[in-house]
């Protein structure tokens, strides 16, 4: 299968400190490819390096064309949608203004976004800063889905959210993945299991494993070794930043936090 994104020998640094080292992998032209790894191993930095948001070296090809020397806005204009970690919605702007700002296409996919996130339609005049964490995440994802992208980079969309919202977001991502390949950073293994066909595991800033998602998740020893968590681990109760209280599915982050 052809690759929409090829990353070759990508290294990145933040404030002079190397956070990604010689990372190479490719993203197939369809489906969801998940980037996995424990906290602080360089997953988010890898996504940011692809987008040019941090200092980087190496080769990044989008549909065979190099984008590693282009500024971030040009990479995005080429059709790379981005859903950042921590949502990063513009809190002083309304929901509608956030969406309007994100529009690049002549005919944005308003209907798709409204169908996936009807709550946002009802709240279009509301300031984004007053939305709950889950609603902000929906808005962040809606911004990316408005345009017809060639690739979607999605960074920890379910982080800190209540299970109900996680399910809604996973469904939306699944829907989005029908039309655009997705590179997804995620710690929630249930979401990975539901969405991802392939996985890239990063440890210590390097790629330590690539392959089918089902194969990795079916190998308990590998999951424990790479992510420090049992694939069948019972849900861990965690406080979410959303309104609805509830238990979280197993995450590599939860395992990290539980360590002595």
């Amino acid at each position: 299968m052809s690759a929409v994104l090829q990353v070759e020998h990508l290294s990145a640094s933040i404030g002079g400190q190397q956070v990604v080292e010689d990372v190479s992998f490719s993203v197939p032209a369809t489906g969801v490819t998940a980037v996995l790894g424990r906290n602080g191993v360089g997953k988010t930095s890898t996504i940011k390096a692809i987008l040019g948001l941090v200092e980087r070296s190496g080769t990044v090809l989008l549909d065979g064309e190099p984008i590693d020397r282009e500024p971030t806005h040009r990479i995005v204009q080429r059709g790379v949608g981005y859903v950042p970690e921590d949502r990063e919605v513009f809190t002083a702007l309304t929901v509608e203004e956030n969406l309007r700002l994100a529009v690049r296409d002549r005919e944005p996919r308003r209907e798709l976004v409204e169908a996936l996130f009807p709550d946002l339609v009802r709240r279009s005049a509301q300031r984004a800063g007053t939305l709950s964490g889950g609603q902000q995440q929906m808005l962040s994802m809606a911004r990316a889905l408005l345009n017809r992208n060639r690739l979607l980079l999605v960074d920890e969309p379910t982080k800190g959210l209540a299970p109900k919202i996680v399910t809604e977001l996973a469904t939306a991502l699944q829907e989005a993945a029908r039309t655009v390949p997705v590179l997804l950073v995620e710690q929630n293994l249930q979401v990975i299991e539901q969405l991802a066909q392939d996985v890239v595991v990063i440890d210590g800033g390097r790629v330590v494993h690539t392959g089918p998602a089902a194969e990795l998740l079916g190998d308990e020893a590998a999951v424990r070794r790479y992510l420090g968590v049992h694939a069948e681990q019972p849900p861990t109760a965690r406080r979410s930043d959303d309104d609805a209280p509830g238990a979280q599915p197993p995450t590599a982050r939860a395992a990290e936090e539980a360590r002595p």
Partner: protein, 291 residues
């Protein structure tokens, strides 16, 4: 009573001048993180161009004065745009160097203006109405104060409408909050940098023409004098907040006028207000909360 009214309206007029300078400073810092110490140079050039136009076409008439105002604002906009394109943009994300360049530009332009127009203040006059006074509740208020207040209100309303209802305004508002994320939406935020500099320069240039009417003279140091108080206003209002700048301009200038009249310590009042705000609310009256 008449003294109070006079000081109040005169203070509002001074606040209007502060706002015309501070609005640009605040937007530039909010979006780009650049403390622009050359902003006074934009104001001074506007004032000198206004003076030259008034000499050439006769600014004692309203049409002549209008031309002086427009060309003064355009001169401020032009020098600001050039400064951003030639000096600030090559130093993108190198904030210390950007600040140093603006300090250098501020010093060089004063020397340049003195070389061209001399070191002595040049006394000017405008339309006869500006030299007269209007009686308000028994106070004879110089008319140029009303002009400054009207211009500042018009600039504030214009900028708010621009920020609220245009695509560029949306980009600037978003960029003030999170510049990197604006870029990550596929928007070349550098265009907004030039635009914000240009708008700020135009407001400063307009402020220059009006300030020369307010004070009755133009000199190479006019911008520098107002810049100090404009910085105070910008910090008190909250960096990046236009309405904060407007509010702070009034809150600084009016007490400054009263303190000057009754105690002779107007400048000290402005500095004390700055110190108080920094102690109680470091992010300014309407700025984002400090981390």
């Amino acid at each position: 009573m008449s003294i109070t009214v006079l000081l109040l309206i005169t203070g509002l007029g001074l606040g209007a001048l502060y706002f015309l300078v501070a609005s640009g400073l605040s937007l530039i810092y909010g979006l780009m993180g650049v403390l622009n110490f050359a902003h006074g140079a934009f104001l001074t050039l506007g004032a000198f161009i206004g003076f030259e136009v008034s000499r050439a076409v006769g600014a004692t008439t309203w049409p002549g004065f209008a031309v002086a105002v427009v060309l003064g604002a355009l001169a401020g906009a032009a020098i600001a745009a050039l400064s951003e394109l030639l000096l600030i943009r090559p130093l993108y994300q190198r904030h210390i160097e950007q600040v140093l360049v603006t300090v250098g530009l501020g010093l060089v332009t004063v020397a340049l203006y003195e070389g061209i127009w001399g070191t002595d203040p040049i006394f000017i006059s405008g339309p006869a109405w500006l030299d007269r006074t209007t009686s308000v509740l028994g106070a004879n208020v110089p008319n140029d104060r009303f002009l400054a207040i009207g211009a500042a209100v018009a600039v504030l309303v214009g900028l708010v409408l621009f920020l609220k209802h245009t695509r560029y305004g949306l980009v600037i508002r978003a960029g003030v909050e999170n510049r990197a994320m604006v870029t990550a939406l596929g928007i070349d935020v550098r265009r907004s940098f030039t635009l914000v500099f240009t708008i700020g320069g135009a407001a400063a240039g307009l402020g220059g023409v009006l300030a020369s009417q307010y004070f009755g003279y133009v000199s190479a140091h006019l911008g520098g004098t107002l810049l100090i108080f404009a910085f105070i206003v910008t910090v008190i209002g909250g960096l990046g907040s236009l309405t904060g700048a407007a509010l702070a301009a009034v809150l600084v200038a009016v007490p400054q006028q009263f303190a000057n009249y009754y105690l002779g310590i107007g400048d000290l009042i402005a500095v004390l207000a700055l110190a108080l705000v920094l102690l109680v609310r470091p992010s300014g009256l309407m700025g984002a909360k400090a981390a």
